[in-house]
Each structure stands twice: as structure tokens, then as C-alpha cells.
């Protein structure tokens, strides 16, 4: 369903992490600090998916509370 994705510009946390953490910046010397060799998306998948699930459920719950008086359908998957 590419169109839905495009319209809402809604991406999953994994999508974001896969881009913003991919091959984290590593600069030498005292100039910067950076997350060295972060490979979270692939590293500890079990922990990650468990957390994402929990977050999604938490989001749903919050969303429900927010929209309970509204006719708008929830945007959260």
C-alpha cells in the first residue's frame, strides 16, 4: 500500500532507526562523539520488537482515550 504510506508520511520506528542509525557516524579524535557501531535494528531484535509492541499498545491506548469523543478514526495501526 504505497499510497497510504506516502499520504500520511507515517513510517514505523524501525524505518526511522534503519535510516537514522544506519552506519552511525564515526569520526576520529576529540572532535566529536558519536554512537560507535550502532546496529540496533539487527542486534537485539527480540528486545526491540518487544518494546515496539509495547509502545504500540501504549499508543493505541492513549489514542483511544484521546479520540473517544471524536468521530475521527484512529490513525494508529
Amino acid at each position: 500500500m504505497p499510497q497510504d504510506t506516502l499520504k500520511n508520511r507515517e513510517v514505523s520506528l524501525l524505518d526511522v532507526l534503519d535510516s537514522v542509525l544506519d552506519k552511525g557516524v564515526v569520526l576520529q579524535g576529540d572532535v566529536t562523539i558519536s554512537i560507535a557501531g550502532i546496529d540496533l535494528v539487527y542486534l537485539d531484535l527480540r528486545v526491540l520488537i518487544a518494546s515496539v509492541e509495547t509502545l504500540r499498545q501504549a499508543e493505541l491506548k492513549t489514542q483511544k482515550e484521546f479520540v473517544s469523543n471524536s468521530s475521527e478514526p484512529s490513525q494508529v495501526e
Binding site: 500500500m1 504505497p2 499510497q3 504510506t5 506516502l6 508520511r9 513510517v11 520506528l13 524501525l14 524505518d15 526511522v16 532507526l17 534503519d18 535510516s19 537514522v20 542509525l21 544506519d22 552506519k23 552511525g24 557516524v25 569520526l27 576529540d30 572532535v31 566529536t32 562523539i33 558519536s34 554512537i35 550502532i38 540496533l40 535494528v41 539487527y42 531484535l45 527480540r46 526491540l48 520488537i49 518494546s51 515496539v52 509492541e53 509495547t54 509502545l55
Partner: protein, 286 residues
């Protein structure tokens, strides 16, 4: 360097943008990583750095390593990074830096920009009017496995042979054959994805094939078979998306069991950085 609260602060770098584009269309104040500290734009000649102050007690290297393991923390900060980047990319040519690019002092940032000036300038000129798209393909392995068996007389003959074997030997021979079938199916899936990738590449200025996510991460029935990013001209966006939609329709019509998904437009996360990644990700090199 101090935050508003007086605690020692680090400088978080989101992105590098062209100074002229910023000056033509300056942005309204935006909230930074920490609600107390807005995003600021530091001009270094033709390059402008988009930064915010972050507290050392959360973003020092040691603390950051620990914090990124906390999902709530990481989710909030990574999404902020992502959202900020989208807002920048909507307005300016953007070199997006990775999450967690942090400087201890402004002087260090200046030094870095000085050092990479040539590469950054070249990239900003190259990235103008371009954007990144991520395309993922999911495959129904069962369908491909069945097709392999159906299309191979050799396998069918072998299966008949297995039936006649004593149980012990049959077990091992069957295992061997299943592995062979699976490898053949994987090869077919790869070929299928590669042909689509080639179509998309024809529209792209750069491509990178990424690691597939495992099933327990995607939480889908089908296995991710292809995960790649494409750098395209923004003016080609409609055509690029149409290509994906047409391909999806074709997959459905032919009942291949392939599902396509795309996200974008992203700033050029995979095609830029302080150093030029163009050579590495030029079509044909990936």
C-alpha cells in the same frame, strides 16, 4: 557552553544545508531535542549547520550508549531527529547527519566543517532537487518453493525415487532435497527482486541494498526479500511511485505472492554524509 538551565551542554548536529537557501527562506523557530532549547542555524560561509544544545547528562557518549537502549527514549529522540530532518528537507537541500552526531564545542563543529568543506559543498550541489526512497519487497516462500518443484522434472523424478527408499536413507535424502529446493526458491526470489531493482535503478542516481529485516522484527507472514534505497530526482517522484504501483499490480495479477512497500521522500540519509558516499552507492557499485 551552557543550556538555559545552566548545565553543561553539547552541540547536536542535525544537518548541513546551503546558506543561500536558508537566507532566502529562513525558518520559524523550531523546538530542539530538549523543549527548552530551540534549533539554531550556524552559518559557516556557504554552509549552514542546523544544531541544538543537548544536556551532557543525557548525551555524553557514555550516557548516549545507555539511553539508546531505552526504547521510549530512543523512540522520542529518533522521531524528533526524523521529523526535524523532514521539515528541513521540505525547504532546503539537506545533508542529513546520523542520529547522535554530537560536538563538545562549537569550535569543533567549525573545525569539522572546515575540514569537510569541499566534500560538503560538492554534495549540496549534487543533492539539490533529489530525494531518497526506501522500497521493501516481501515474498511468499511457499509459493516459490511449490513453483520450483512443479517446474523441475528432476525434482519430481527424485521424489518418486525417494518413495522407494528405505526409511533411514529416505530421511537423509529428503532433507538434502528440501535444502536444494529451498536454495532454488531463494534464487528465484532473488532474481525476481533483482529484476525489479534494475527497473528502479534505471530511474535512480544512486542505490544501496540494505539488510533485510528478520521476520520476528517485521512481524509479517512473508519474509522480507529485498530492502533497498534509491536516490531520485524529486521531479521523477510520480513516475517512480507509479513504477512501484504498476509492479505491485503486476505481482497481484500474476499471483506471485510478492508484496511491495515504499516509504519516502527521505532526505538522502544513505547518499550523503561528511564524506561523499556517491562513489560507493553509484548504480552498478552496490
Amino acid at each position: 557552553m551552557q543550556t538555559n538551565s545552566g548545565a553543561p551542554a553539547l552541540l547536536y548536529l542535525y544537518a548541513l544545508i546551503p546558506t543561500n537557501e536558508y537566507e532566502e527562506a529562513p525558518m520559524e523557530p523550531m523546538e530542539g531535542m530538549e523543549p527548552d532549547n530551540n534549533i539554531s542555524f550556524i552559518k559557516h560561509g556557504s554552509i549552514t549547520a542546523v544544531v541544538t544544545h543537548v544536556p551532557e547528562e543525557e548525551f555524553s557518549q557514555e550516557k548516549l550508549q545507555k539511553n539508546v537502549e531505552k526504547m521510549e527514549w530512543l523512540q522520542a529522540k529518533a522521531f524528533h531527529h526524523h521529523e526535524t530532518m523532514n521539515q528541513l528537507h521540505d525547504r532546503y537541500t539537506t545533508i542529513p547527519l546520523k542520529f547522535g552526531t554530537i560536538f563538545e564545542q562549537e569550535a569543533n563543529l567549525a573545525e569539522m566543517i572546515e575540514k569537510y568543506h569541499e566534500s560538503v559543498t560538492a554534495q549540496l550541489s549534487y543533492l539539490k532537487g533529489k530525494e531518497e526512497w526506501n522500497v521493501k519487497t516481501y515474498a511468499d516462500q511457499q509459493l516459490f518453493t511449490e513453483a520450483v518443484v512443479q517446474n523441475s522434472e528432476e525434482i519430481q523424478a527424485k521424489e518418486a525415487e525417494l518413495e522407494a527408499m528405505p526409511a533411514g536413507r529416505r530421511f537423509f535424502e529428503k532433507k538434502k532435497m528440501d535444502q536444494f529446493i529451498e536454495a532454488q526458491a531463494d534464487e528465484q526470489i532473488e532474481k525476481h527482486c533483482q529484476s525489479f531493482h534494475d527497473e528502479l535503478t534505471a530511474w535512480s542516481e544512486g542505490t544501496e541494498i540494505k539488510k533485510n529485516w528478520e521476520k520476528r522484527v517485521t512481524d509479517r507472514e512473508k519474509e522480507m526479500a529485498w530492502n533497498a534505497v534509491y536516490l531520485i530526482h524529486s521531479k521523477d517522484r510520480e513516475a517512480f511511485i507509479q513504477l512501484i504501483e504498476q509492479r505491485q499490480e503486476k505481482e497481484e495479477a500474476e499471483e506471485t505472492g510478492m508484496d511491495l512497500e515504499c516509504t519516502g521522500p527521505w532526505p538522502a540519509f544513505h547518499f550523503s554524509g561528511l564524506t561523499d558516499r556517491r562513489e560507493q552507492n553509484a548504480p552498478g557499485h552496490s
